[in-house]
Symmetry: D2
Subunit: 88 residues, 4 copies
């Protein structure tokens, strides 16, 4: 958990830095195609981050909630998360 | 173009602020599901931004390049962009 | 479950029919853009179908597996499904 | 073009066969997770097909339209296609 939190925080800082770079590119009127290449990279980095957080959620919070009789609640949340992710 | 650049810069600032908020949530050990809801919102905001930049590219740089005899070049770029966006 | 199975089967038949129509369009050299509009519609129909099957899985098989002491197994499957869906 | 049309038709037949197999799985009440693995595979096959058709469109119809003074028209179509693909 500890190692994972550090990893997630590092990834978030990296993404923020990347976005600042993109803002600079837009500000300096860089070529749209080069800007889009960077936004795609940011999007992939966020998707990777989400995969890490979701996997952690499934392996820690979900079993814990089930043990404590809150299975239905976490399952409803998963249904909702999936539809959020898919409707993006 | 001017109005559009201002819009894109405003959206980028907003996304950076949103990410900072997510970093705070991770730092304070907020519930994973609440964090994921926020990362999905960020991802959608980036996708919206990309749509705006691409539409602008198609309406301005592409016709300009075609007029200047660089049709093949911009078309190769579009093929490449599409495969980048799809393979994310 | 019964009503849901009927719905899923009906959706699958519809998608197959739609694809046959697309094959006909390709065969008759219809305009690429019109063909792509149809393939996007098919893709959306498949995504809707997946959402229905996943929601059903989360509401029926998952709680059942948990009750029968197979929580870890279904959770590993969900992690795997998510990465399959995301890496598409 | 000829070779490409044959390839696209072959892929469409393959996808239809795959879907028929999925319908059989649903009909025989196979495990949801196994069904979802197959629908993801179909979705990836359709995305691959779309990439082939779009690349062909960009390399053939688009330059042809530009030569014939219909640049604006094909560009409007590309903007529309992109938003269709992204909003799925």
């Amino acid at each position: 958990m500890r190692a994972e939190k550090t990893d997630v925080l590092k990834r978030l800082s990296y993404i923020e830095g990347h976005l600042k770079g993109i803002r600079k590119m837009v500000d300096e009127d860089k070529y749209c195609v080069d800007i889009l290449r960077q936004t795609y990279a940011v999007r992939m980095a966020i998707e990777k981050l989400e995969a890490i957080i979701l996997e952690n959620h499934l392996h820690t919070c979900v079993p814990e909630a089930i043990t404590n009789g809150r299975a239905e609640e976490v399952i409803d949340e998963l249904v909702q998360l999936y539809s959020l992710a898919a409707n993006r």
